[in-house]
Amino acid sequence: MLLQQLINGVALGSVYALIALGYTMVYGIITLINFAHGEIFMVGAFVGLLAVSKYNVNVFVAMAVAMVASMIIGVVIELIAYRPLRKSSRLSALISAIGVSIFLSSLALMVFGADAKAFPSTAFPVRQIKIGEAEISSLQLLIIGISALLMLGLEFIVKKTKIGKAMRATSEDYNTAALMGINVNRVISFTFALGSALAAAGGVLVGVLFNAVSFNMGLMAGLKAFAAAVLGGIGSIPGAMLGGLMLGITEVLGVAAGFSSYRDAIAFAILVLVLLVKPTGLLGRKIQKKV
């Protein structure tokens, strides 16, 4: 029974982790909570749904298409809504982010309507696989597998590639990165592209998992992923992964323990608790004031 809940929790938590990574990477570099990030997740889900239902492609192709589309949207959002405000107060950029978030969900409401859309049942064949007492569905396996793969890919990019190292350098010290010849604007665009692609992948996975894609799905998922990022320590990439998984597991265990009506409250209770007790999160760095 516990094993079953853990499997469910890890599957859900993987998706939270995918979305949380986008929050944490963007925050790490420009100290902005990108409140439009949840909506990018939603747009990704819709693009995936369109690809599957209109063009009959399989889930993997749909996910790739959604990731590319969201990358472009993420980069464009940064370009027109955040970059012009780079030198203004942080609050201005935050308000701009909320504006973009409202814009995107309203746009989706206009285009796709208010009811949730479902993936065709043929999109991904679901089978149950027995592991001892517990069961894992092929869908859960898909989610865990894809998420793990994407996170390994991200880890590789950040640790080993030139642009990934530049991301870390810029996130540590923006001005010094510029002094070293790093084009920080390009690094920022790249960060938005990466984060948006991960969110889109999460969007398609959630759409298939719950068999529902709707204009407002980004709100709750985005807020919970934000809570996960804060739990792990905002700005920390491993933190976002850990925070996502912990949040997913806690939520599922909470529901299993009979608190199903408080399902969404669990994430926010954790958020408040972290902010009160350890604002830097589990793996976050202490914020040093630069002299």
């Binding site: 870390r168 010290d173 010849g181």
Partner: protein, 234 residues
């Protein structure tokens, strides 16, 4: 080589630099000395392009770089070693050097640059895999200098290389600065340690609250009674 003309920079209502003009010729070591808050770092950051300037003109080898973004300025051959060293603390020594060579496209050239830095600073080679935050202050200064050399700059802007270092290390760092200069790199040096700075510089500018109050041959300035009184503690 580098020419700064009538540079004015304001931080809000505070005038950080008022009509500063200075020049660095090819092959020189030029020192900027002055008290804390005189505007020395502001000049370097304006040259590097990370600070918006209010008026004035900066040109490098005849090209106007006043509005050039910082990464382009590095490509043109100006690199800064910032105040407080600013190594990337959570990256390894090797990765820090790689970042210094970010503008270098050729991977073999980057590796050659890293080898060069290791020859110049053998300590860095020993600590190649360590995170930069585990280095001592002196080692961090070496890393910051090695990192700046990675882009093979024509002009290095050094901001307070002696800050927070033991006197013996300061001597060592200044010897290395002279070596770097001898191998053909022009140097602009900002220092509070006026004594050390004047001992290695060809020319110097003395700054007070955002203005150049004195300038000339370093040796002459070191003997100027005003300078001796105000900056050399006599």
């Amino acid at each position: 080589m580098l020419k700064v003309e009538n540079l004015t920079v304001n931080y809000g209502a505070i005038k950080a630099l008022k009509n500063i003009s200075c020049e660095v010729h090819q092959g020189e070591i030029v020192a900027l000395i002055g008290a804390n808050g005189a505007g020395k770092t502001t000049i370097l950051n304006s040259i590097s392009g990370i600070l918006p300037i209010d008026s004035g003109k900066i040109s490098f080898s005849g090209t106007d770089i006043t509005k050039t973004p910082p990464h382009e300025i590095v490509k043109m051959g100006i690199c800064q070693v910032p105040e407080g060293r600013r190594v990337f603390a959570n990256m390894s020594v090797h990765e820090n050097l790689e970042m210094g060579g970010y503008s270098v496209k050729d991977k073999a050239a980057v590796n050659a640059g890293i080898e060069r830095a290791f020859t110049l600073f053998p300590r860095l080679k020993e600590r190649s895999k360590q995170l930069a935050k585990t280095l001592s202050g002196g080692e961090q200064q070496m890393l910051a200098m090695g990192r700046a050399l990675m882009s093979s700059p024509k002009l290095i802007l050094l901001d307070e290389p002696s800050m927070g270092l033991a006197p013996m290390l300061v001597e060592k760092i200044f010897e290395i600065i002279v070596d770097i200069n001898k191998s053909g790199t022009t140097i602009m040096l900002v220092e509070q340690n006026a004594h050390m700075a004047l001992s290695i510089a060809n020319r110097a500018y003395v700054l007070e609250t955002g203005e150049v109050v004195l300038s000339g041959i370093a040796k002459d300035l070191a003997e100027d009674p005003e300078v001796r009184k105000a900056y050399l503690g006599e």
